[in-house]
């Protein structure tokens, strides 16, 4: 990650502009996590949100290095571009990386692979994530989730308490007032913390542009072999079974989110710079998760997965 800090007018008559206010809020939260917990980590997916989160963590502790590890849950179905970016970035910032492999959870019988042509490892990640958390005794995992992403997320706290089974109870959340975050917990419990809760997709892109943050090539327009399934454009890969009635075509596409290859839908796009992506996002009439197969399974699929301990 290149750390370039452009000088732009961040204030006017002692009123902080909105992106700077969001940035300050997030840095405050990240520092609170460091101060209140023994063993925190960043959940790093390789997507733009966790990249921005990592960038904010760098700012929070500058000139020291990020004082906690980054955790990546590798489903084995990642886009190769995501892994390339991850390794490059870790090298740039000199942080420690912990990888939890879904394949290990499958091999040890902790979880079972889904079957059928819609099979995905998305749900299996939860087991690997919870195992990784307990193996490394992590007591706070920061994630790049945003409240504008999905309706179940709109009610999530910044400091989100998880019981000893890693579960989220939406009806029993601690009230969160002012800037006073309560990270107290019993042995075996942990927290998920969302420092960029109040950012929107547009905020993320404008910040990436303003801060000149490097992002994986997947976000930019490229040519790729794809199939159309349930209204989504999915990349062909060794992890996806092309059905008889589906045809493989080559399209100019890009991705709005970086999930698994089996479930993350591409969009047809020629946007090849961050500026062009911003124009596209501004004109888009579909939410970014609208092309995620995992959210289409049912109206409450995100809420159900979150209750079990999903990101």
């Amino acid at each position: 990650m290149s750390i370039v800090y452009p000088k732009y007018n961040y204030m006017n008559n002692y009123l902080l502009k909105h992106l700077k206010e969001l940035e300050s809020e997030s840095i405050y939260i990240i520092r609170e996590v460091f101060a209140q917990f023994d063993n925190p980590a960043i959940l790093f997916s390789g997507g733009k949100d966790s990249i921005v989160l990592t960038h904010l963590a760098i700012k929070a502790f500058w000139p020291a290095k990020i004082p906690f590890p980054l955790v990546h849950i590798d489903t084995g179905h990642n886009f190769p571009e995501t892994i390339t970016y991850r390794d490059w970035m870790i090298n740039q910032i000199g942080a420690k990386l912990i990888v939890g492999y879904v394949q290990n959870s499958i091999d040890t019988g902790r979880t079972k692979e889904e079957t059928g042509s819609n099979a995905s490892r998305n749900a299996l990640q939860t087991i690997t994530l919870l195992d990784t958390i307990s193996e490394h005794q992590l007591d706070a995992c920061m994630g790049g989730a945003r409240r504008d992403e999905e309706k179940a997320r709109a009610k999530e706290r910044v400091f989100s308490h998880r019981d000893e089974f890693g579960q989220w109870n939406p009806k029993n959340q601690r009230p969160e007032l002012w800037n006073l975050f309560n990270g107290k917990k019993l042995v075996g419990e942990h927290f998920r913390v969302f420092p960029i809760s109040n950012w929107t997709e547009m905020d993320i892109w404008q910040y990436i542009l303003a801060e000149k943050i490097e992002i994986p090539s997947l976000y930019f327009s490229h040519k790729r072999e794809v199939i159309h399934r349930n209204g989504s454009i999915l990349a062909t890969s060794p992890y996806i079974t092309v059905r008889n009635d589906e045809t493989v075509t080559k399209k100019t596409v890009r991705y709005r989110t970086c999930g698994d290859m089996t479930i993350t839908g591409a969009i047809e796009s020629t946007a090849s710079t961050v500026e062009e992506i911003i124009n596209e996002v501004a004109a888009s009439r579909i939410t970014e998760r609208g092309s995620r197969e995992d959210d289409k399974r049912s109206e409450t699929s995100m809420e159900d997965r979150k209750k079990q301990g999903y990101f």
Partner: protein, 421 residues
């Protein structure tokens, strides 16, 4: 929108309060819809549900119903956060439910808000709930109140109905501690005066709701007078290039700090001078709320989390005995003989209750000095004593150094929100 104008936007946080059925969800849905902040897939989803329910219009309130239980029961259980932006400002809405647990949720939503929207059903006028919501907004020191008289379409956009409500409300509001109150006649269902000016209310000369939200002055909502900097953590890189570097990280709670100024560190009482201020890795010359910065000082002294950096001639109060307005948030009643963990700024101490001074009767908004049993959603004034002195300001002076929460020492739940009097 290009990057430069996007970076120039301001942030406004507002909370919405209203009782059941006065159209709060519809109003938020209308703001999102008319400001084109709704996406096609969201619109399709709520159209589908509206059809299934047999409605002849799209129920915009469905946009804000989050969890499965809520959608099934058609009610809002918890505070939900919504986002939209216009070219001028970005808005964060803390959407709080109007009925069960309303105090707890409204207090939560109000704690960070610049503006409170109070909804009144034009047919019903000012009701008990209106008084409660306004009282909470005033208690939490929300700087601006916008009273939306909704459902004007159902009273034929009658000017007299609106004026009568305004005069009843103003009579009550004279007792509130709010400086800026505005009134707008609207119809959330039909969109009158929400984003677009209504043809039906030619007698109304004021701004639409959106115009008001976009233009009201929020530059004075933060305290710029009393310098306060609570230390969150110490940054020590231990690298060759920053061998002896030590900076104090935190968020400015109040006032303005400048490079080269003499400061006082509390509770030690030692004087020092600001050597440098950093925002990220950028050195800056002055810092103000709510910036997260790090500071280096010229003299090496022992400073830790919970300490506060101030100015010699402008110091916070120091005491182990504090009087606080509380809102009890927990389901279990207050145990007067219990010990509590108290979080204030970046500091944590233990606290006990010495005395309940009075409790607010939320039906009449009056003090009740005889009934001192405290249950969930009760608002009360109490004297507490802490194990170590607190360095604080009154909540009226500074929301950051005047607010606190109480945490249960066994369950770790957040029990109460407190505002220092």
């Amino acid at each position: 929108m290009n990057n430069e104008s996007y970076l120039n936007m301001e942030l406004l946080r507002f909370t919405t309060a209203g009782s059941v059925d006065d159209g709060k969800s519809t109003l938020i849905g209308r703001l999102l819809y008319d400001s084109k902040s709704i996406f096609i897939d969201q619109l399709e989803a709520i159209t589908k549900i509206s059809n299934r329910k047999g409605l002849d219009h799209i129920d915009l309130s469905l946009l804000t119903d989050g969890l499965k239980d809520e959608r099934e029961q058609g009610i809002t259980i918890d505070v939900a956060y919504r986002y939209f932006a216009t070219p001028k400002r970005k808005f964060i809405i803390a959407d709080t439910p109007g009925h069960i647990q309303y105090t707890r949720n409204m207090v939560t939503g109000a704690s960070t808000a610049n503006v409170a929207l109070i909804l009144i059903d034009a047919r019903k006028g000012v009701i008990e709930q209106t008084y409660r919501h306004s009282f909470i907004a005033s208690l939490l020191q929300i700087p601006h109140l916008i009273v939306c008289v909704n459902k004007m379409d159902l009273v034929d956009f009658d000017e007299k109905v609106f004026n009568d409500i305004v005069s009843v409300y103003e009579n009550f509001a004279s007792k509130l501690d709010v400086k800026d109150i505005r009134f707008i006649p609207i119809s959330a269902l039909q969109g009158d005066n929400v984003v677009n000016r209504s043809e039906n209310t030619n007698w109304y000369q004021g701004s639409t709701l959106m115009h008001t939200l976009e233009n009201m002055h929020i530059g004075s909502d933060q305290n710029h007078l009393d310098p306060r900097f609570s230390v969150q953590t110490i940054i020590r890189p231990h690298t060759t290039s920053y061998h002896d570097f030590r900076s104090y990280a935190g968020r400015i709670d109040g006032g303005i700090f400048r490079k080269g100024e003499e400061v006082l560190v509390l509770p030690s009482g030692l004087k020092n001078t600001i050597k440098s201020i950093f925002y990220g890795n950028t050195e800056i010359t002055e810092a103000f709320p709510p910036m997260s910065v790090s500071m280096t000082l010229t003299d090496e002294i022992d400073i830790s989390r919970g300490d506060i950096i101030v100015k010699q001639n402008n110091q916070p109060e120091v005491s182990q005995d504090v009087e606080v307005m509380f809102c009890w948030l927990n389901e279990n009643p207050l145990n007067l003989s219990g010990k509590y963990f108290l979080k204030h700024t970046t500091n944590g101490v233990r606290a006990v209750f010495k005395e309940i001074v009075y409790k607010i009767d939320m039906k009449t908004i009056t003090r009740n000095e005889t009934d001192k049993e405290i249950f969930t959603n009760d608002i009360f004034r109490a004297k507490i004593r802490t194990t170590k002195p607190l360095l604080f300001d009154t909540y009226r002076k500074n929301r950051n150094t005047g607010s606190l929460i109480l945490v249960d020492e066994v369950t770790n739940e957040t029990l109460a929100a407190g505002m220092i009097v």
